[in-house]
Amino acid sequence: MLVQQIINGLSLGSVYALMAVGFALVFSILKFSNFSHGSVIMLSAYLGLWFSNRFDVGLFPTLLVCMIGGGTIAVIIEKIGFKPIRDKNGPLIYLFVSSIAISMFLQYLMTALLGGRFFMYRPLLKSSSWRFAGITIPIVNLAMLAASIVALVFLLYVLYRTTIGIAIRAAATDLSTPNLLGININMLISITFFISGALAGIAGLFLGMSLNVYPQLGGLVLKAFVATVVGGLGSLGGAVIAAFLLGLLETMITAYIGGAVTPMVSFTVMILFLLFKPEGVAGLLGLSSGSATQKL
């Protein structure tokens, strides 16, 4: 029972984690909560659905299309919704409000276009879950777990081992000086959004496969927001770990106290945690102890 609940928690956490990586990436550089991330997830889910049905292809081509599509959508959103505000030196918080307005717009747009209909992917996986010894592991969630870990490792590699990645990290504290070194900061931001959008594309495909595809699918991004903030200081590793902790916490409360009180208890626990660990999960793990090479 406990084992099954831990698996349930990790599988829920994997959903949150996959969304949180992309969310935290933009959060760490542009310092705002990008709620349009949810819309990119939602649109990618539709894109993958259309593509896999139209061309009758399997998981991997669809995944590729979702990643490229999600990345492109995110860049377009950045160019239309955020860049003009940055160019006019609008306050940071306007980016956040703009991202909310954009996500509302896209949700209403898809509802108007498709009449609020629900869609389902045809099976891209041979089976949907593994069962042995009375324990069930949902395969899509396993894939999400793998994807979020691969994404995290890949991102850490890019951020710490490539010049572009170093530039992205530098831009997290200073958006103007990189220009003086010959770094095209707009390009850098576009790259960041592309990566974030590609991650949203992966999340969109897997969420679409495990849930249905519908205009409100992106609403789950609120959990990514929670994980990112609890993760602390825009730390990617902190956000991913916080996402898993959040999944486990919610599952355990639901399993042993009752689903009706889950939001009450989980938020209380979170606030208490932040009171005692004001550095967030990143602080808990010593990921932000001031040394640059350590901060994820």
């Binding site: 609940q5 349930n8 609120l222």
Partner: protein
């Protein structure tokens, strides 16, 4: 140049004159959700209403006057619903107002309609929307649908007396009034009739993962799970339960209607649900075919309700022989044997609802909706 201008002006004046001379249309209002989370139902409902209005207009309208339909979106927001009602009543001078496939708006509108005095025909399954206090109806609200209690009791009765299942589990969103009301009625009935609720699980708005609750249910080993939920949640709960190897009977209300099977495929097998209507009835089939031809999309149950609400309202106008809201209200109270797609409606003047609820139980088998038959709960 000048000459042509004169011709245009004269033509316009003639046109305007014609419109004045033609009978003033009777305005029928509708409040539905076209843009938010329940847009699928709202749009279906609006189209059902539209088809009814077009039929009546094709037959020459009512009282020698054409019918004009005004549909307002309220995006699931009670405040917007209230202003839409006020607008229809005051601005558009609607004679009667249809709609809202959800109860919460009608709960807010009931006392307002009491002052504004334009009747509403909708399908709130919350008893309180039509009943002010026991034995006293809200005078201006009428419902074409049965109550949550009816759905819950019917499902419980069917499980206990027809399927012989007495170890039952219930899972629903505590924040969804409709779901919770049905769930409570189910539980109350089941306990009264000797069944045991072995597990009662809850979740919250926005949840998409129900494995934790389902694990608890699985451990309690029920013979059937009752899932009174909206489409999205019901589809996920059913699918996740099947993934976890829970092959037992799943019971539900009318949210298991299409597109459920389309969404979760074989996971929907072994589901029994309480519906308002059998899909294989000739009038439903004929209407569905016309709907698909006209709009290029399958209707949801709400299209049938929309159509029926319109028919109930329009027949009341015919009987009242007046477009006056008060007189329509009085006529609505005397609705008797009005044949709609779903029911033959006769309103009980005390409850403002159909006087008798006969459910149709449908089983999902090999991805097909199989009508089991009409069913009335066993009463003690």
């Amino acid at each position: 140049m000048k000459k042509s201008l004169v011709i245009v002006v004269v033509a316009l004046m003639l046109l305007a004159g014609m419109q004045v001379s033609a009978a003033e249309p009777i305005v029928v209002g509708a409040i539905v959700d076209l843009s938010a989370a329940t847009a699928l139902w709202g749009q279906s409902q609006a189209r059902g209403i539209e088809m009814a209005i077009e039929e009546y207009n094709a037959a020459g309208g009512l009282l020698g006057r054409p019918l004009e339909l005004k549909v307002y979106d309220f995006k699931m927001d009670v405040q917007e619903g209230i202003t839409a009602y006020q607008r229809l009543a005051n601005q558009d001078k609607a004679s009667v107002i249809l709609g809202a496939p959800v109860s919460n708006l009608l709960l807010a509108l009931a006392p307002i309609a009491d002052q504004v005095k334009v009747p509403i025909v909708g399908e709130p399954s919350d008893q309180r929307a039509t009943t002010k206090s026991p034995g006293q109806p809200w005078p201006y609200i009428f419902a074409s649908q049965a109550t949550c209690v009816d759905y819950g009791e019917t499902a419980a009765s069917y499980a206990i007396y027809e399927l012989g299942l007495t170890q039952l589990a219930v899972i629903n969103n505590k924040g969804n009034a409709w779901a919770d009301e049905i769930a409570e009625a189910f539980i109350a009935y089941a306990k009264e009739h000797g069944a045991t609720i072995v597990s009662r699980e809850a979740f919250n708005w926005g949840d998409t993962d129900f494995r934790s609750q389902l694990s608890n249910i699985q451990r309690a080993q029920p013979e059937a799970i009752f899932v009174p939920e909206y489409l999205q949640e019901a589809s996920q709960i059913t699918r996740q339960a099947r993934e976890m190897g829970m092959d037992m009977v799943i019971l539900g209300p009318n949210s298991y209607t299409p597109p459920m099977v389309e969404l979760i495929g074989s996971a929907a097998d072994n589901v029994y649900f309480v519906n308002n209507v059998a899909f294989d009835l000739p009038q439903i089939k004929e209407f569905t075919a016309r709907y698909v031809e006209k709009y290029g999309i399958e209707p949801t149950v709400n299209a049938y309700f929309g159509y029926d609400n319109a028919v109930i309202a329009l027949e009341a106008i015919r009987r009242a022989d007046s477009a006056n809201s008060q007189e329509i209200r009085d006529a609505l109270e005397k609705t008797e044997n009005v044949q709609g797609l779903i029911f033959n409606y006769t309103f009980d003047p005390v409850t403002h609802r159909t006087d008798e609820f006969i459910a149709t139980v449908i089983k999902i088998e090999n991805g097909e909706y199989v009508t089991v038959g009409q069913y009335k709960p066993v009463k003690k």
